[in-house]
Every structure is written in C-alpha cells, then in structure tokens.
C-alpha cells in the first residue's frame, strides 16, 4: 500500500466502520474511530506530499485500476499528486482532523453520533477523491460525493422540516452546477478524446495556435465549468443554498461550507487554469462574477443577526474574492486566499460554534453580548480570527486579500473597478466582522436569565483546535508574502513559487495575458495597499463604535434612517423571493399541472385504462372460462378435429 492509497482509504474505512459495521451507541468510540481515521489520513497525506514533492519532481500519477474501457473512452482510477492537490490534501485532512476533534465536543449532547462521524469521514474521503482525481470522472465522483455528504450533513437533524428542506435546497441548487460539469465533461471528451488532466494539459500547453472551433469549445467548456463552480462555490446566482446550509451542525459548516467543499470550484478552476487562460472572455466573466458576489454577499452580511448567517455570507463574499482572483489570472492568489480563508473561516465558524454551544444553541447575536468574560479563551482566538479575516496588516488575510486586489487592479480595462469594489468589500467585511465581534463579546449580556446562568467556557476538546487554527490564521499568511513587502523584510513568496508548476500558461494564450508579466511600480502597489488598509480600518472602527452598546445606540438610529435599505438588505435583496416566484413557484405549478393533467389523466388513465381494458376484455372472454369441464373438452376435441382436418386436407 502506498501513501496515496492509505490517504484515501483511511477516511473510507472510518466511514464504513462507523456507519455500517460498528454503528456504536457510544459517542466516544465513534469519535475515536473517525478522528483516528482522519489523523491517519493527514499523516499519510503529509508523507505523500513530502514523498512526491521531494522525490518525483512534484508530480506523480497513481494508477490504481482501470474503470471504464469503452471504445476510445478510457477512464482509469488514476490519481494525480502535484503541489496543488497535495496542498488541498493537507488542508482537507489537517483542518478536517481539527474539526473532527472539535465535533466530538460540539456533538456531545447528541444521542447517537456514529451517523454524523460516518458522514464526516465519508465527506473527507469524497473530498480527497475530488482533489486527487487525475481525470474529470474521478473528480466528478468526488464532486457528487461531497454534494451528497453535504446534503446528508445539512439535514443531519432531519426531524426538523426546515433542516431537511435546507439540505434539499443545497442538493438541488448544486444539481444545476453539476449539469454544467457533466456537459463540460462530454464536450471535453468530444473535443479532445481524453478526460485526463495531464493529457489535456500536454495537448494545450504544446499547441501554439488553436482553431476557432477549438477556441469556441474551450470557451464553452470554461463557461460550463464556471456554472459548476458557481454551484459548488456559491457564486452568483447560485449562492442561495449556502446561507441555508447553516442549518447543519456548526462543525459541518466549518469543514464543508467554509474550509473545503465550497472551495472545490476554486480548486477546479485552478486545476483547469490552462483551459481558462485560453478563454480570456470567460475569464472576464469569472472576474466580474467573483467581484459582484463578494460585494453583494458582504452587503447582505452587514445587517444579518444570526451569527452563522453572517459568517455564511462572509464565506460567500470571500469565495467571491477567490473567484475574482482566478478570473484576473491570479490563480495562485486565489488558491492562497483559499488556504488562508480555510484557516481563519474554520476558526471563526468553530468559534461561533463554541458561542452557540455555550448559549445553548441560540444563534441570534441580539441575545448575546458581553461573552468576553464568560468565554475568555474563545474570545481570544475569535478576535484573532476576526483580525485575520478583515486583513489587518500582518495577519494572513491581509496578504492573500491584498494580492488578489493587486492582481485585479492590473487587469486591463475593468481592473480598477474590480479593485474599487474589492476594496469596498474589504471595508464592509471589516464592518460586519467587527459588528459580529462587538455584538457577541462586548457590552452587556442580553440573554435571558436562564441561559445566562449556564454560560461557561467550552471544554479543551473544543478550544484546543481553535488555538491551533488561530495560530495558523495569524501566521499562515507568511508563506505568501507579496513581493513588495517580501523584498522589504526579506521573506520570499514561497507560495507563488510552490504553485508555479501547476499554473502554466499555454503558449497560445500568452499574448492575452502579457499584463501578468508587466512590471508595475512599487509605489502604486503601496498606495493601493494603503488605501485598502485604511478602508479596512475605517470599516472596523465604524463597526466597533456602532455596536459598542449593543443593538441600541447609533446602529438603531441608522437603522431607522435607512430603514428601506436596511429592510432590503435584511431580506437579502429578495433573491430568495425572486427565485421562489420566478423558478420555484412556476416549477411547482408546472409540476402540479403535470401531476394533475399529465400524470393523473394521461399516465394513470393509460395505466388504469390498460387494467380496465384487460378487466373488460377478460370479463368478456371469461364466458369461455366457464369452469365447465365438458365445455373445455368440446373445444379441445373441435380443435383436434380442425388440426387433423388441416393435415388430412
């Protein structure tokens, strides 16, 4: 067994053990199994990455078995380990392990948790498949598998109708993206005759000119993949499932809906960067889409009261950043933000989870406040997370966000606008994060007497992982310090260098992307950095001051003054209602119509008609089935006579 097989099989083994074999009532046993599985996978992934990066020049294909062999279609079970996938492996298994540990504490009041842990392990397995798959179909298995696990975990508390519906919503919205993915796969096979990433990469990197038809189909593939990414990574217009997905347990939100699964779209786009480079017009779409999503989600997050909802919209917003980063050609920046975001968003979610846990599953920030003195440890790590996400200089979020903004600014024609929106979004982010922090931890406690009595610090099993994540949130940014700062303090940009072999530009695309190589003045970069930082600080200051005294004070006045805007934002731009009216209701009515008219009248009528026709015809023909022995015999004899007569002529 090699490291890859071990990496893949431990989570699967854990899932099977927990979900099918043990089905243990014991929470401890279930948790031990799943955490062990996840940790073993993490260590295997570590060894695997080390092995591949040092011994195989950063690229190795593991061919486990052949799967589909049909004509020219050949899809083996083969897995690709390169810097990108090993980075993803480490994020998934590493953060996954921490969240597994945390989940043990968070879920400690549940009756049976083996189901939860089995799903969680299965999710890890599927996610690993997604990121290690060497061809589209393996990736698609993972893609669908994580969707399934996400569905299962969102509606983990399926006894409540709301949760089941949220899971369903996530599943259905993801379907739209999956269709895009599938069509892209079909088109790729039709156009290139192979589904292997490496083969495709070789074909495209080495071709100097492309026919118009080829370019068109590449553009179409990219567009379809973008649809897929929109579904999975919650971009406009398919983001609606993610806020609802907060119905699941908080560790799930942290793992799936912040750190890993939702970044699959970004991962996929990076993996297919050679495609995207060849379709610059689609890249523009990607960039604009990401930018709009980031801004749009951030504005909604400004007014949300549910702590997890705020974080969810924040996630959507940060994903928008990543997508924007990819769209402007900075795949490295996108992935870097993915990495930092995974750390601090997991931290924030888990911190929020701790708060919710302490508040006995109350999620409304209006009922919190002043938790600083009840939850000192949580408060400390949460504050670090907040500082990281808003991009206070020195924290990880600062480096990654700034790099994306810088890359966006350099984008031709619309670049400055992207940058402007990005900066504005950064300000909003600072505002709502500080609002969140202030409402939760500062001021007076607004919860009812009963809850207040029971608030106490979470156990070590929960704040331990938080501490680790906080450490990462603060320092992980230093692996990708932008050149302009790095030159100053003498830290090179490891990260860009690390991803270089993955993100290669095809020769045919180089003329479109010459600006990436253009040299810009450091002064401009410093200026932009300063501007965005001041926006951040402004937003943070406003956020803190507005909500310093809880929901009363200035915030109330503002709320009254801009009541229509506020209402508009609170209702999330009425997107859900819009979808409800434009898609869901007509769909339901059409289904009703089909059910009433087509199903009941045509299909049922046909089926019942067949049955009734049979009954009528059998009633008609049952006269001959009289049960009369001799009647039968008469017809038998007559038949024999006819038969004999036929032969005798």
């Amino acid at each position: 067994m090699n490291w890859l097989e071990m990496t893949l099989c431990f989570p699967l083994l854990g899932a099977i053990l927990n979900g099918l074999i043990l089905r243990s009532e014991s929470k401890t046993l279930a948790q031990i199994v799943s955490v062990t599985a996840c940790f073993l996978a993490f260590f295997s992934a570590l060894f695997l990455s080390y092995d591949v990066l040092t011994h195989h020049e950063g690229l190795k294909v593991y061919h486990l078995a052949s799967w589909i062999e049909a004509g020219s279609l050949s899809v083996p079970f083969s897995f690709l380990i390169d810097p990108l996938s090993s980075l993803m492996l480490l994020i998934i298994t590493g953060i996954g392990s921490l969240i597994h540990i945390y989940a043990g504490g968070y879920m400690s009041h549940e009756k049976t948790t083996y189901r939860f842990f089995a799903y969680l392990n299965l999710f890890v397995f599927m996610m690993l498949l997604l990121v290690t798959g060497e061809n589209f179909l393996i990736m698609f298995i993972g893609w669908e598998g994580v969707g399934l696990c996400s569905y299962l975990l969102i509606s983990y508390w399926f006894e409540e109708d709301k949760n089941a519906k949220a899971g369903m919503k996530a599943f259905l919205v993801n379907r739209i993206g999956d269709i895009g993915f599938l069509f892209a796969v079909f088109l790729t096979f039709k156009q290139f005759g192979t589904l292997s990433f490496l083969d495709l990469k070789n074909i495209l990197l080495n071709s100097h000119t492309l026919t118009q038809e080829m370019q068109n189909s590449i553009a179409l593939i990219c567009l379809l993949m973008l649809v897929a990414a929109c579904g999975k990574s919650a971009q406009l217009p398919l983001y609606v499932w993610l806020p609802d997905a907060m119905a699941g347990p908080t560790p799930v939100s942290a793992l799936i809906h912040a750190a890993t699964m939702v970044t699959a779209g970004v991962y996929m786009m990076t993996r297919l960067s050679f495609f995207y480079f060849l379709a610059p017009q689609i890249m523009t779409v990607v960039a604009v889409l990401g930018c709009l999503t980031a801004f749009f989600a951030a504005t909604i997050a400004l007014v949300q009261n549910d702590i997890k909802k705020v974080l969810a919209y924040s996630t959507v917003s940060q994903l928008g950043y990543m997508v924007m980063g990819c769209g402007v050609g900075g795949f490295g920046a996108g992935v870097f933000h993915l990495l930092t975001h995974a750390c601090f968003k997991a931290l924030l979610f888990l911190g929020a989870g701790s708060v919710i846990f302490a508040m006995h599953h109350k999620q409304d920030m209006m009922e919190m406040g002043g938790l600083k003195k009840y939850l000192p440890k949580t408060h400390a790590v949460f504050l670090l997370g907040v500082l990281a996400i808003i991009g206070v200089p020195g924290f990880s979020g600062f480096f990654s966000k700034d790099e994306i903004l810088w890359k966006a600014f350099n984008y031709p024609v619309i670049g400055p606008y992207l940058w402007a929106f990005g900066t504005l979004t950064a300000g909003c982010t600072a505002f709502y994060m500080l609002r969140l922090y202030t409402l939760t931890f500062c001021g007076e406690n607004r919860s009812d007497h009963h809850t207040k009595k029971h608030i106490e610090e979470t156990p070590v099993i929960m704040w331990g992982p938080l501490a680790v994540l906080a450490f990462l949130s603060v320092f992980i940014g230093f692996v990708g310090v932008p050149a302009v700062i790095g030159d100053l303090v003498g830290i090179p940009n490891f990260f860009e260098h690390y991803l270089e072999p993955v993100i290669k530009m095809p020769h045919a695309a180089e003329e479109n992307w010459h600006f990436l190589r253009d040299h810009h003045s450091h002064a401009l970069e410093w200026t932009l950095m300063g501007t965005s930082t001041s926006f951040v600080l402004l937003g943070a200051l406003l956020g803190f001051n507005f909500y310093k005294r809880g929901p009363k004070g200035i915030s109330l006045i503002l709320k009254k003054k801009f009541s229509r805007t506020h209402k508009f934002l609170t209702n999330k731009y009425y997107v859900d209602e819009f979808y409800e009216n434009i898609f869901v209701t007509p769909l339901q009515e059409m289904s009703q119509f089909l059910w009433k008219i087509f199903d009941l009248i045509f299909i049922n009528g046909f089926i019942n008609g067949v049955g009734r026709g049979l009954m009528i015809s059998s009633a008609l023909s049952s006269w001959k089935n009289s049960g009369g022995l001799q009647t039968y015999a008469v017809f038998f004899v007559l038949g024999c006579l006819v038969f004999l007569g036929f032969f005798l002529k």
Binding site: G628, V634, V637, L638, L641, G645, L648
Partner: protein, 172 residues
C-alpha cells in the same frame, strides 16, 4: 364365410350397445351394457386371432374394471340426481359440430387411407400367439412392462389416498 357372419353379427351388436351405453339413463344399465360391449369386443378380438388379448379383455376389463364401476355406483347414492343439465340449444349446436367434425374426419380418413395390398396381409403367425406375446413382452418391452407395473402401483396408492375418508384419528 363363418368369420364374416360372426363379424357382422358382433359388429351390429357392438354398434347398438355402444350407442346404448352412452344414451341410457341409469348408470347401472350403462355398466351392464358396457360389460356386454366389452365381452363382444373380446369376441371380435378372438375372431382376429388375438385370443390372449380377448381373454385379458374379459378378465381385466369385464372382470375387474367394470366391477369397480359397479361398486362405485352402489356406494354412491343409487337415487342420485341423474338429470341432464345445461343449455339444450348450446349443447345441440356443439353436438352437431362435433358429430359433423367426426363424420368429415372419418370420410377424409377413409378417402386418404392407402389400401392394404395382399402382400401386406400376413395372418399365418397369428395362430397361438400367446407364447410370442410373452416373449416380446419380456424381451423387447421389458422396460415399458416394468413401468406399467409401477403405474399400477401408483394407481393403487393414489386411488386409496383419494377416496379415503378423512379419518378422525391420525393413527390410521
């Protein structure tokens, strides 16, 4: 000459008896007539030189099988309902259909039957053929013969099982 006279005599009796067997009202009468029928048929067999078959016919058919019929008639209620039921018109139509079919069929059969030539007819070996029948039965037909014995055994067992009254105590 004598053979021909005997045959036509027996044949006319057999025809009358055959028709009578299926038309008389009482089952007992029918059985008695059937006995005569079989008896005279044995006569025809004897006329054809098949003495062994004739005797077998008398012993088994007349002497055993029809006695069974007799038994059953006597065990069942002698006054049982003998009314003919069913739609007369329908029965008549079917009856005519079957009769016409048989007539047509027999007509066709005799029309198409290849006439026997003189060479075909061999009647020398038919005198005293019991011995030959025995030989053939136990040499060429030994397996059918054994199977027939099995059949009889099965017949005995199943007849007992079917007609047995469900007993109250299970020990029987």
């Amino acid at each position: 000459m004598g053979e021909a006279i005997s045959f036509y005599f027996l044949a006319s009796i057999l025809t009358v008896l055959s028709i009578a067997v299926v038309t008389v009202q009482k089952p007992v009468v029918a059985v008695a007539l059937l006995v005569f029928n079989l008896f005279f048929l044995a006569g025809v067999y004897a006329l054809l030189g098949a003495h062994f078959i004739a005797v077998i016919q008398v012993i088994i058919y007349a002497g055993a099988i029809l006695v069974l019929f007799m038994f059953v008639i006597m065990i069942l209620n002698p006054d049982m309902d003998l009314k003919e039921t069913g739609d007369k018109g329908k029965k008549f139509i079917l009856f005519s259909a079957v009769s016409v079919g048989f007539l047509f069929f027999s007509f066709k059969m005799f029309e198409q039957m290849a006439p026997l030539t003189k060479e075909d007819i061999v009647s020398e070996i038919l005198e005293d053929n019991t011995y030959e029948i025995g030989l053939q039965l136990f040499e060429d037909y030994i397996w059918p013969f054994e199977l027939a014995s099995l059949l009889i055994l099965l017949g005995i067992v199943s007849a007992i099982l079917i007609s047995r009254k469900p007993s109250q105590n299970k020990s029987v």
